[in-house]
Symmetry: C2
Subunit: 106 residues, 2 copies
């Protein structure tokens, strides 16, 4: 089974869970309150996120707090790096174009 950060963020509910956990660690029940699905469905999402190591569990009595592993998010950023150069170049080109237009106007 494919299990990487890109698959982790493919589902909108999982992205929302990641967003929640970015604010604070939460229990499955706490997370489930924010969604219309069952707690069990959220639990399955948490399993995927755990397998991708996007979240870490912290046992506290009978509760489990899920923490976001922010490091994993950097992997996406790293992949994006190759494109960032491209769109910055395009931005520069546009910038130069505008500068030239302004120049010619004078």
């Amino acid at each position: 089974m494919r299990r990487d950060i890109f698959q982790a963020i493919a589902d909108p509910t999982r992205r929302a869970i990641i967003g929640l956990l970015a604010m604070q660690a939460m229990t499955p029940n706490g997370i489930a309150e924010h969604f219309q699905t069952t707690r069990q469905a959220v639990s399955k999402h948490l399993r995927v996120l755990t397998e991708c190591e996007v979240v870490k569990q912290e046992y506290q009595g009978r509760e489990i707090y899920y923490h976001l592993e922010i490091e994993r998010m950097k992997e996406i950023d790293k992949w994006l790096e190759q494109f960032r150069k491209l769109w910055e170049t395009r931005f520069e080109q546009l910038d130069n174009l505008l500068a030239n237009l302004k120049k010619n106007k004078k």
Copy 2:
């Protein structure tokens, strides 16, 4: 059917295709040469990417050149923004910690 940039980049083959098209526009046949799957499988990936508007088609005779729409990549970057603050903060904290250690050493 869910069709967004996050689903587009969920598949490793599609990520590779996006990587190729970042370099230059290519035809389906040209793209397929880089993979072990059939041309038709690549074609299906291109369909998903087209539906997500990650690529654009340019007809040239019987060939179709696929171009990357770099703008779509920015959407990922935008979503990542919320986490970027977090990991930069953590980096600063680590930085401060190191600075303090250095200070106390003196």
